[in-house]
Every structure is written in C-alpha cells, then in structure tokens.
C-alpha cells in the first residue's frame, strides 16, 4: 500500500520527502469529490456534505504539513527557497524543446497559496454545511466547490503557463456554475453570463500573451521562461526586446496581454464589472471564490512571472497604475452601495488593487522587493479577513433574508459571535494595529512610499475611505437602529458548523499579521527581514481611525447626517452610486456600437447572403427535381434504357477518349 502510494506520487525526485509528493493528493481529493458527487449524487446524497468536508479536511492537513516541511525543515537550501518540481508528466510535444507538462511545482508562492486555498475552502465547506442546509441542489453545490478547489489548486501549483491557463479556465467555469447556482433567478443567470463573458474576453489576452511569450522563449515552463528572459545576453531576450510593435517591444506586449488576463480575473479597472454582479451566487461561494481565492489569481499570475515583469518597466507601471486606480475607484463606489455583498465586492476589488500596485511598485530582489512580499502578504491576510467578512455577511443574510442595509441594524445582540468576528475583520481591513491588515498594508504603503509618492498619497486616501465604508457597513448592520422586532433570539446565528469557521477565521484575522512574511516569501526567494517603522505607520493608522470616527458619527445612531451630506454632494454621490456609469458605458458600447455596427450587418449578411445562398440552392434543387421527376416513370424499360445509355457513354469514353 505504502509502496503503491510512493509510486503514485512519483516519490523519486523528492527532496522534500514523502510530504512534497503528497501534494498531488491535495489536488486529487477535491477532484475526487467533484467526480464522485457529480456522478453519484443519487447514492451519496445523504453523506455528500460530510464526505466532501472530510476530503477537504485531509487535503488541508496535507497542505499544512507540506508548508511546515517547506518553510521550516528542508525547503531552504543555502538561504534560498527552492523551486521543486514534485511531479511532472510529459503531455504534448510541440517541438523538441517546447512541450506541455502537467505537474506540480512547489515554491514559496505555491505553497503559500496551497495553504490559503485549502484552508479557506475548508472554512467555506464547514460554513456551507449549515448555510446551504435544505437546499435542493446540495450535492451539486458541493461538487462544484470540489471542482473549484481542484482547479484553483491546479492553478497555483502549475509548472507551466499552459497548465495554468487550463486551470484558469476551469476556475472560470466553476465560478460560472456557482454564480449561476440559483439559476431560477434571471439576475443570477445574467450575472453568471456576464462574469463568464468578461473574464473570457480578458482570457483571450492572457492566451495571446502566453503564446507570444512561449513562442519567443521556446518553452511554457515558468523556470525556463524566467531563466531565458532574465539572462540579458540570451538571444531570446535580445529578440523579444528588440522587435517592437506600435512603440512597445514584444515583451511588453506579451506582459501587458498577460496582465489583461490577470486583470479580468482579478476584477481590475475596467474589467471589474462582473465582480459586483457575481454576488448573486451563494454567499459562501462569494467568500471562497470572489473574495479570497479566485479573484487573486491575477495577483498570483503577476507574482509568478514577477521576475519577468521586473525587467520591463512599462508593464510594471501599467500594473501599478491599474492597481491604484482600481483601489481608489472601488473604494469610492463602496461608500455608496447599500447591498452589503456589493460593498464587500467593491472592497475586494479595492484590496486587490492594493496588491496589484504593490507588485507594480516593487523591484526585484531583497529589500527592494518589499512590494512583492507586501502584495503577497496582503493577499494572505486579505484571504482571511475578507472571507470572514463574507461569511459574517452570509450569516447576517441567513438571519435577515435580505441583502439590503436598510433591513438590518441592531443585530449585535442577536448574533454576538458574528458581531465580534465582523468587528475584528473590519479592524483588520481598516489597518488598525494589531490586526492582520495593518501589517500587510503598512508594508504596501512603505513600498509605495519608497517608489512613487503619487501612488503613496492615493493609497493613503484609499485606506481612509476603506476604513470609512467598512465601518459604515459595520455600524449599519450591528448598531444604527433597534433590530426588526420580528427577529427574535430564536433566529440565532445558525448551527455550530456556521459559527466554528467564523471563530477560526476571526483568530486568524487577528493574528496572521504577526507572521514575518518577508522571511518566507520574497521576489528572489531569499528571505530578508522587514521591520515595521512606527513613525511611518502613525499617519495611515490615524487616517484609518479618522475614517472609522466619521463612519461612527454618521451611522452609529440613526440620523439624517448622512443624507444631508449625500444631498450636498448629489452629483458625485449619484455617479458613485451608479458605479460611475461603467456598466452603462459597456452597455452603450456593446448594444449601440458593436450591435449596430457589427452585429446588424452580420445579421443582414447572414439573413440575405448566407440564407439566400442556401435558399437558392434549395429552390434550384427542388426545381431540378420536379423537372426530372418525370424520368422516374416507374417503367422498367425506361430504366433499362437509361442504364444502357450510361453504359454506352462509358464505352464511348473508353473507346475514343482514353485510348
């Protein structure tokens, strides 16, 4: 048995021992979950939820074990974290050097992501046990979660760009399935379609980028690509940087296109429009996919190729500016939304914007690469507090049966645990010490400060706005006005399995900030020490507290101060409330311009030319057939005569033509 296990997990080339090889099980268990629940839902109906949660629990244990071994025991050689190909299967060979593999690559980034994905997924599974109880398509839900977890894990351990792309599309599919989970609602179907189409559109960029990059480096493999392109003497590097198209080199184009793919998945401006609508899915799904894991795939992608991005200033600046613009833009919109999940969605977008611009302002290597570690640190902490926020929102929605803020208020008595958890998560996201968000945000801000003052100032403003809208949310839900009298203590916070993940995540959100992240993850895999500069962090913390205070004044008690302010800034408020008309702009472009200029002519062409040809052929055929129908007289002798005529023609051909 053990032998077999070793064999399956390709034990041979394992510096990490059995533990690293077990990584394949982390991926296969959710796949097994998906396949078994998907195919056997008739038989597994009763144990489906326990089954999938247990499978995921095992996967999480293995992931934590791998992380422990990697970071603390034998992942580091000579002070550098190694990149290990645990498992590699040759799949398709295009040329001698260029082939597609399916494999598992463990480096610090992948291991961190493995932990985050499995852990958050486990929490979401636990929460779903209670939240989705009584749902008709329970089995489907868990099997989709399995598919998502599988593909996300496959994405983070990908050894090459093509495997990453495949898993990238798979997470897109599972996101589509889960957003459209309540397919009876037309809005859910529309949202699912929107998410799929927008990300698909962006993925086209990613695919083209991958092809350009691979064509020039002759490989899909991350390590090979990075080695080829960081070696400035190599012929590939010279050719890819020399040839230019529309003023940018091929490399820049490739990176920009790849970033467009990442921006689509990570809901960066202007491809963000799908994310708020994606909140139509079940809330635990939003916590898992649209907050903690899938939407950070863009950040992961840029981080994975960071060594390449770092040599190209143009692409990196694009990342930085798109990131900061998205962060500010989403934060402003979040202040005006009334649907709590939409507020959280915009806050997610804003935080991912933080990660993006942190990557954008970073440089490669050592202390200079502070932005890189900070971005991933923020990814890590954000996963915890944002999924916690979503799960709390889920618990609240479960109780109130509404997404709207006006239906809530004064819930702190009814749901004490949710209240505390939400408060801690809000403090974390607002960057109040000593909660997790403080540490990562400080690193991001100091990286921005070192690199680009403009970005630093915008980031500061954004962080104040973040604190404001998060506490606006918090006060509106838990304080503001006395709770609806129809809600009694009978409507409590749900089962233990709903409370447990909240508590676990609460502890994480409060403490993970103390992890010295840069000692584990850095742009060149060499650990370094980064310290918090107390003097530097005073300003952001004060701004955050100011935001909280403002929110408190406006929303702690029911009053009309907020309305007054919105009335005096009517135009701006309206614009922000309507999400700056981006959706309308898209609709205008698609409906008015694309449909009218391309769609209508295409439809006309289809109706008149293509269908016309077909109809013409049909009518000609029918005309001919009616006219030759008389040949079919039913008289045997006529048939014989035709037969003879045919033979005679052939005979003549043989006699006079061929000879």
């Amino acid at each position: 048995m053990r032998e077999l296990l070793f064999h399956i997990i390709a034990f041979k080339n394992l510096p990490l021992g059995v533990v690293g090889g077990a990584a394949i099980w982390i991926i296969l268990l959710p796949l097994a979950n998906f396949v078994l629940l998907g195919l056997g839902k008739k038989y597994l109906k009763n144990i489906a939820r326990i089954f999938s949660t247990v499978l995921l629990f095992v996967a999480t244990i293995i992931a934590l074990n791998i992380a422990y071994h990697y970071f603390f025991i034998d992942g580091k050689v000579n002070g550098v974290y190694q990149t290990i190909n645990v498992y590699q299967m040759h799949w398709l060979s295009f040329t001698e050097t260029m082939h597609v593999e399916i494999g598992i690559q463990l480096d610090a980034l992948s291991v961190m992501m493995l932990v985050v994905v499995t852990f958050i997924s486990l929490m979401v599974h636990l929460f779903s046990l209670g939240y989705m109880k009584g749902e008709e398509r329970y089995c489907n839900y868990f099997s989709y979660l399995g598919l998502f977890t599988f593909s996300m894990l496959g994405l983070v351990v990908a050894t090459n760009l093509l495997q990453l792309y495949m898993c990238w599309e798979l997470v897109g599919i599972s996101s589509y399935l889960l957003i459209g989970f309540y397919f009876q609602k037309p809005s859910a179907v529309a949202a699912a379609k929107k998410a799929f189409i927008v990300t698909r559109f962006a993925d086209l960029g990613l695919l083209i980028g991958i092809l350009i990059l691979s064509f020039n480096t002759n490989s899909f493999n991350f390590q090979t690509i990075i080695q080829t392109l960081t070696n400035t003497q190599s012929s590939s590097f010279i050719s890819i940087t020399a040839s230019s198209f529309l003023g940018m080199s091929t490399l820049t184009w490739a990176l920009v296109l790849i970033f467009i793919g990442g921006a689509g998945k990570s809901a960066m401006l202007p491809l963000h429009i799908w994310l708020p609508d994606a909140m139509e899915g079940p809330t635990p799904v939003s916590a898992l996919i649209h907050a903690a894991t899938m939407v950070v795939a863009g950040v992961f992608l840029v981080a994975k190729l960071f060594a390449v991005f770092a040599i190209n200033v143009t692409a990196l600046q694009l990342v930085a500016f798109v990131g900061i613009a998205s962060a500010l833009f989403a934060a402003i919109i979040a202040c005006t939304q009334t649907d709590i999940k939409r507020v959280l969605a915009y806050s997610t977008m804003s935080q991912i914007g933080y990660m993006m611009f942190a990557l954008g302002v970073s440089k490669y290597g050592g202390e200079e690469g502070l932005g890189y570690s900070a971005a991933l640190f923020h990814l890590f902490t954000h996963a915890f507090f944002k999924s916690l926020l979503f799960l709390c929102a889920g618990a609240v929605i479960h109780l109130v049966h509404s997404n709207e803020m006006k239906d809530m208020g004064g819930l702190k008595k009814l749901m004490p645990i949710t209240h505390i958890a939400f408060l801690i998560a809000c403090l974390a996201i607002a960057g109040v010490p000593p909660f997790a968000g403080f540490f990562s945000k400080e690193e991001i801000l100091s990286a921005a400060y070192q690199n680009n003052k403009t970005i630093y100032i915008i980031a500061l403003i954004t962080s104040a706005i973040t604190a404001f809208y998060m506490f606006r949310l918090y006060f509106s839900i838990f304080w503001n006005k006395p709770h609806d009298s129809r809600l009694t203590a009978h409507h409590s916070e749900g089962t233990l399995t709903m409370k447990l993940p909240l508590i676990i995540l609460m502890v994480c959100a409060a403490t993970v900030g103390f992890i010295p992240f840069s000692e584990f993850l850095s742009s060149n895999n060499q650990p370094y020490h980064s310290a918090i500069n107390i003097g530097f962090s005073i300003l952001p913390v004060l701004l955050g507290l100011g935001g909280i205070l403002l929110a408190g004044i406006l929303y702690f008690k029911q009053n009309n101060k907020a309305d007054k302010i919105t009335n005096s800034f009517q135009v701006i408020y309206k614009a922000a409330y309507r999400k700056f008309y981006i959706d309308e702009l898209y609709l205008f472009i698609t409906k008015k311009i694309i449909f009218n200029c391309i769609g209508k002519p295409a439809a006309w062409f289809d109706r008149n030319i293509i269908d016309g040809c077909m109809n013409g052929i049909a009518s000609v055929a029918s005309f001919i057939s009616t006219s030759i129908k008389n040949i079919q007289s039913g008289k045997v002798q006529h048939y014989t005569l035709y037969f003879f005529a045919g033979v005679a023609v052939l005979l003549m051909a043989v006699l006079y033509v061929w000879s």
Binding site: Q632, S633, G634, K635, V636, Q637, T640, L641, F644
Partner: protein, 121 residues
C-alpha cells in the same frame, strides 16, 4: 445492313480460317444476339416476352465464355464452368421471374409492364 454497319465502323473482317478469325466471328454473332435481346427488352411490353429477351442475352454471354475458353485457353475449363453456373442461375432466375409474373397476374390481372408502375411512388 450488317455490311453497312461494318463499313461505317470500318470493321476489318478476318476470314474464318485465320488466327483469331473464328473467335471474332463468334463474338460478333454473340454481340448481335445480345443486341437482339436488348431490342426485345426495349420494345416488348409483355413481361414473359421480356423474360425471353433476357434469356437471349444470357445465351449470348454464354457463347462468349465458351468461345473464349476454346480459342484462348483450350487447356483450361473455367469458361465452361462459368457457363454451367450461368445456366443454373438463369434457371433459378427464370423460375423466380415466372413466380413473380404469375403473382402479378393475380393481383393486377395483367402482365403488361406499363400497367405496373408501382415503382413510381
């Protein structure tokens, strides 16, 4: 008539006694018989007479087989065997055809092919 045809087609008739002469004569005879059969097949409307024409055509084929066997491969017997099999098949075919004709006569009260145009639809 045949002379005219020979003239039109520029047919050089070999004397019977020469090499290939006898064979050529025989296959011309069989070809003529074949086309007589075909003429009958086209003009006759009665099914029994059509069947007779078909028998004529089969006979012409048989003549060919035997003639080729005799003049080209006299030490073999394959042509003879083919003739035997063709005769056997012709017998079976005639029997089946006559069964069909009689059945048709029962249902249509006629064995005129022009009356039986059920193939049309």
């Amino acid at each position: 008539m045949i002379e005219l045809l020979f003239h039109i087609t520029a047919f050089k008739s070999l004397p019977l006694g020469e090499v290939g002469g006898a064979l050529t004569h025989i296959i011309i005879l069989s070809t003529a018989l074949f086309f007589i059969g075909m003429y009958g097949l086209f003009t006759r409307r009665n099914m029994i007479t059509m069947l007779m024409s078909i028998e004529l055509m089969l006979n012409s084929v048989n003549i060919n087989f035997v003639a080729f066997n005799k003049y080209l491969y006299p030490d073999k017997m394959d042509g003879i065997f083919f003739s035997i099999f063709i005769i056997a098949i012709a017998a079976a075919e005639a029997a089946v055809a006559i069964a069909i004709i009689i059945n048709l006569y029962r249902t249509h009260k006629s064995i005129d092919v022009d009356d039986v145009t059920d193939l049309k639809q």
